[in-house]
């Protein structure tokens, strides 16, 4: 009996020992696997646990005008944020709310502190501390715990409204920005950027301006409320951007517009850079930075459209200012010569359709040749020419004058002047172009629309005798271009002297500009806002300022060695010669006096 019990005891103890040793062996194998086989992998995981880094937002590059004025730069701003390593006491929260009672209320502060603790991240409680704020905070610093001052940058622009459209503005990144930048910037990581260029040069040169983030490496604990900084690699500041805008001339042009809607664009014919590009009315670029969405809506709904960049986007009928360009086309294809004359009685009768077109001057210009038609701006002369135009040649010519293509790679947003061909008319009216359309096109009316930038370029084409390049604000993109037509040197000289006569001949539509010493050549135009079929209607229209004609002037100076071309558009300004011309004169004087 006793032996049996001892036997059972020994057998069972041996069995249990066997189980124990088996499990012990299993455990040793398991630890061998974890520590020797998987050791490096698991250690890597541990390093990932502990070592983390955060990005340091870089300082954005400056934008500097050709006359050395800093138009945009990042300025250091200080903000107050919660400190994740130290929970603020209730007392501190109350004291801080008292201290900045005009900037934050205690309930909001509590919410922000709460979410900071919950998500273990630093939350900004007061943005953009002024010097006084900073002093106030630092003085009472010992009583308030759990908050810290952090540095950041804010975009600061030259506040003159003339520069807003060229510079553009910054805003919080959204999906369409990501779509825009992803193909343009290599390895674009949208998650790193909070504010990006929304328009203008800020958008086009985002990559150059944005710089590169720095990194702050640290070791952190599991809760994320303790961190030890181990290394910092500083950010790379964005590159400065030198732009072609001459800020003095730009400001002058804006002020000369005197609150009227319109645009002035100047191209430097030496390199086709753009020293002046204004759109009026405008706002200060800083205004757009901190406004509410409601105020933004107001700006969008403003009938004067201050946010719309007329210089690169506005489409206007070029009216008479297209005549010199079409003269080249007409001369080269033999549609006319310097000797042909017609009798201008103030009307053009299109017999095929039995329609009568009015010209601007009552009674007409009498016996008119090409030179007189340019100087005095005779519509019937050019209408008479345009019914002879061969459609395909005309379209080709317009295409070579950069209709229907992008003019400027770094102008944003950018609109090109539509190329009026059969496709265009089909798309818009479901019909082909017919003869009657050319009568209007021939005098820059009807379907023909150009941007101020394009008009300035057309003026440049005239000045440079058909050879031109695409204009730019920062960097030249494309090589030399030329129009398809090739008239003789003598024809060019007569055409250009006609444009001088426009200004200096007493009959010229630009004589009242009193250009004097400037050596200006140019062409004025008056674009109809509404179709007018009779003189009575015309008088009615003059009463409503919004229906008044747009005043247009294109020109270049000095005419014997062209340096600048210009286009001026004053919406509802009525007379190109009297209203737009003097603005062009003063802007060009300013630019040429610089030298």
């Amino acid at each position: 009996m006793k032996d049996n019990k001892i036997h059972i005891y020994r057998t069972r103890t041996k069995f249990l020992l066997g189980v124990f040793v088996s499990i012990l062996t299993l455990v040793i194998v398991r630890f061998f696997y974890l520590q020797i086989v998987q050791g490096n992998e698991l250690r890597e995981l541990r390093e990932q646990n502990i070592n983390a880094f955060e990005y340091i937002y870089p300082k954005r590059g400056r934008i500097i005008s050709s006359d050395g004025i800093v138009l945009a730069e990042d300025r250091k701003v200080f903000s107050l944020a919660t400190d994740i390593e130290q929970k603020p006491s209730e007392q501190s929260i109350k004291k801080l709310a008292d201290l900045f009672s005009e900037k934050i209320i205690v309930e909001d502060l509590r919410v922000k502190v709460g979410s900071s603790i919950r998500y273990r991240r630093s939350e900004i409680v007061i943005e953009k501390l002024t010097q006084e704020d900073l002093a106030k905070y630092l003085v009472s610093g010992a009583d308030i715990t759990g908050f810290s001052v952090i540095e950041g940058y804010e975009r600061q622009y030259n506040s003159h409204p003339s520069i807003f459209h060229v510079l553009g503005h910054m805003g919080y990144i959204n999906n369409s920005d990501i779509k825009y930048f992803s193909p343009r910037i290599s390895k674009y990581n949208s998650k790193l950027w909070s504010k990006v260029g929304k328009s203008g040069l800020e958008r086009v040169y985002e990559e150059k301006l944005q710089g590169e983030h720095g990194k702050r490496f640290f070791q952190r604990n599991a809760r994320g409320d303790r961190r030890v900084i181990t290394d910092i690699s500083p950010f790379r500041e964005g590159e400065d951007l030198s732009i072609s805008i001459d800020f003095e001339a730009q400001k002058l042009a804006y002020e000369l517009m005197n609150e009227r809607k319109g645009s002035v664009v100047v191209i430097d014919l030496q390199d086709f850079s753009i020293p002046v590009a204004i759109s009026t009315p405008s706002i200060s670029a800083n205004d757009l930075r901190d406004i509410s969405s409601l105020q933004y809506q107001d700006l969008l709904n403003d009938p004067a459209r201050p946010l719309f960049n007329r210089a690169f986007m506005g489409l206007y009928p070029p009216a008479s200012t297209i005549k010199p360009l079409l003269t080249i086309f007409a001369l080269n294809n033999g549609y006319t010569n310097w000797d042909e004359t017609i009798f201008d009685d103030g009307f053009f009768r299109f017999e095929e359709e039995e329609r009568v077109f009015n010209a601007w001057r009552e009674g007409g210009h009498g016996l008119t040749d090409l030179e007189k038609a340019l100087v005095e701006s005779s519509n019937p002369f050019f209408m008479n020419l345009s019914i002879r135009y061969e459609k395909n040649l005309f379209v080709e010519f317009l295409k070579s004058s950069s209709f229907g293509s992008k003019l400027c790679e770094d102008c944003y947003p950018h609109q090109f002047s539509p190329l009026i061909d059969d496709d265009w008319k089909y798309k818009n009216f479901g019909k082909e172009l017919y003869k009657g359309d050319f009568i209007n096109l021939g005098v820059g009316q009807g379907y023909m629309l150009t941007t101020p930038l394009h008009l300035s370029l057309i003026s440049g084409i005239l000045a440079k005798k058909g050879e031109y390049e695409l204009p730019y604000l920062v960097a030249k993109k494309q090589n030399k271009l030329s129009i398809t037509e090739d008239i003789t040197e003598e024809d060019w000289n007569r055409l250009q002297s006609s444009l001088v006569d426009v200004i200096y001949s007493p009959n010229g539509t630009g004589y009242r500009i009193n250009a004097g010493e400037l050596k200006l050549a140019g062409k004025s135009g008056t674009a109809q806002v509404v179709d007018i079929n009779s003189r009575e209607e015309y008088d009615e229209v003059r009463v409503n300022p919004l229906l008044r004609d747009h005043a247009i002037f294109i020109g270049y100076a000095p005419h014997d060695d062209p340096r600048y071309s210009i286009a001026v558009i004053v919406e509802n300004g009525e007379s190109g010669g009297r209203v737009a011309g003097p603005i062009a004169k003063k802007v060009l004087e300013e630019l040429l006096n610089d030298f």
Partner: protein, 358 residues
Amino acid sequence: MIFNLRNSIILFSLMIIILMGSLTIYSVTSIDINYFLRFLLINIFVILLVVLLFNQINLNRIFSFGWLLFLFNILLVLSVEIFGKEINGSKRWLDFGFLSLQPSEFMKITYAIFAIQYLRFYSFKFSKFRTIFLLLVLFLSAVPIIAQPDLGTGLVYIFLGLMFLFICGMHRLYFISMGIFGVLLSPLIYSFGLTSYQKGRIVSWFSSDQTLSEKWNILQSEISIGSGGFSGEGFLNSKQNEFNFLPEADTDFIFSIYAEQFGFIGVFLILLSLGCFIVMTTLLTMTEKRLTSDLSPYYIGTYCTLVIGFSFLLNILMVSGMIPVVGLPLPFFTKGGSSLLCFSIMLGLIFTSRGFLK
């Protein structure tokens, strides 16, 4: 005291475990060297005190108090419900100011002493009635532990109690039938007997979703162990502990911190010491020449040795991700008064039963 080679090896293995345990607690909880010395001294003092105390008492005297001790223990467990302090959503501890005790820890000792007193009266003859009575007492006394809720301790208590009855010679038919019964009943127990927290632990163990918090604990534990590599990061160099990535680093998961600091070599050393201590002690007890008709000292000695051994292994299986997380202490490592006291008492019982110190 009989100092021969075997006893020296046993004592030496035990000293390694106690020393390493104290070092690890020190490395987890504090960087003050005084704290370590105090801790080591307290450990050794408590162990020696308990061992010597038990040595002075005749084991038979202790056995004769079996049912009283057991009843007192059950009352303590029940009183936790009323006076206990709550930690992590369950009431397990009685706070005595200078130390907090977890009475359920002691159940595995008092049940064995109670069973010895009961069986010894019948010369360890398992009749049907006695077997069922002892099993009923075991299962019913586990109920208040499980209700705390502390499923882990409760299950381990039942498991160890059964192991004790197994050592004492209960008929194997009962084990077989209980095994079958348990397997059949487990889906029912899972559906109706478990809280969602307990279910979560079990589900997470089978799930491969690394984001579950239970899984996260195990992952962090494995990261600690693996980071130790072959030779370890060195004493006081546990980064997982320094940066708080390992929860319960001073209690249930303390072995992971040990493994990170001392590497596979350290783990092997501990397991070797444990193996030596458990196997040699058990074998020596079992092959004792002077086995008398009263086997109770051998039963209790073997039982206590194996409890220390299996407790150790269960905890290590848990921290290395081989079984679900159950809050089991690691003998002589885990920081906590009741665990230290409980395992010291077991050491006392082991040494006394063998007449080791005589």
